[in-house]
Assembly symmetry: C2
Homo-oligomer: 213 residues x 2
């Protein structure tokens, strides 16, 4: 693959989005970034990894929470009352990391509103992966070792969190087809098949770009 490509993957919980991203990155010989973004952002800003991980992909909830956590994290040299919510700080720090990574070269980025952050990058293809609920339940039990009686509630909880997070930082509705270049139901294709369709999309985007020139 000669042309630069940034694939962002947004995904329903249990849809295999992360696994699809991993396989795609491997096939294309490019890096994948997921939780690493949170770690990089924490390191760059000299902040606690644990606090970053807690706020990762979570919308700011309340001013009180943010004031308390902000004061705890950044010390008394910043007035807590004027401080940004910790989740917003994490989002800003991750935004910088995502822009730097995308500038460096081709990669796959999972979650973290990367498609919104890179919305003006012509090399960016944002993909939304979803799947039929029974297939997500099966996958969540198998891959994440969740107890069967709790899996449906966990799926619903995490999807709600991801949807809120996306809406809070982008103003857009999570999973609305028109915001994505490509949306795939992975329960129809499996991991390999979904990767093949994303690769077909990349190839045909290149062809169309050459055709337009």
């Amino acid at each position: 693959m000669s042309k630069k490509v940034i694939i962002t993957i947004d995904r329903q919980y249990g849809s295999g989005g992360r696994a699809i991203g991993e396989q795609l990155a491997k096939d294309l010989g490019i890096p994948l970034y997921d939780k690493e973004i949170s770690q990089m952002a924490a390191e760059k800003n000299g902040m606690s990894k644990e606090v970053f991980e807690k706020a990762d992909e979570t919308a700011a909830s309340s001013l009180l929470y943010s004031v308390v956590t902000g004061a705890y994290m950044f010390g008394n040299h910043v007035s807590p009352a004027l401080d940004l919510p910790i989740n917003d700080k994490v989002f800003i720090a991750q935004t910088e990391i995502i822009k730097t990574l995308a500038h460096k070269g081709s990669c796959v980025i999972v979650g973290r509103c990367a498609d919104y952050i890179l919305r003006n990058d012509p090399d960016m293809i944002n993909v939304f992966i979803h799947a039929y609920l029974p297939s997500r339940i099966e996958r969540a039990i198998k891959e994440y070792d969740l107890p069967p009686e709790k899996v449906e509630m966990q799926i619903s909880k995490i999807d709600k969190k991801r949807g809120n997070y996306y809406h809070y930082y982008t103003g857009e509705k999570w999973g609305n087809a028109i915001h994505y270049k490509l949306c795939i139901d992975s329960s129809v294709l499996g991991i390999e098949g979904s990767v093949a369709v994303i690769k077909a999309f990349i190839e045909n985007k290149d062809k169309e770009n050459r055709h337009k020139k």
Copy 2:
């Protein structure tokens, strides 16, 4: 192509959905049904083609309208007060035609909630085609010869009509990614590229099915 496949295409106005369906049907050597469904349904029910076309892909609006139109269309042998809205009659008649066509063999069906009507058919792949607004404006001016100053209003009007129609008869939100097996932004790929990605989806669905057996 040996395996039966029913491709339904839902599309934003000006996104090239119909052209993508035509090219796909041609490449696969299978029929495409669009406005023909309305004509077949009118013929089968011995009703006026003009009334069918007017109600095509339009949700029932008001009881008053339906009573008046129903009485006009079907005569006095049915009590107008107990009559269904004309748009509902058209929907029911089209539903029968769509089921018959899908039963007969592989085909491409454009619009008319065909994906909802055939939701239990394992051979059905529903596709949603959308595109970046400037590209839809350009296409609508070129293909439908619309005056540039009116094109944006026309796009908005027809999409609203299609969205209402889909929601009215399916209870689902038009363009919500999770209802479709595949959603494509055709402004990235063009007609040829979008067709290629749909074909990649069909091929990989077949592979996944063989793998599951």
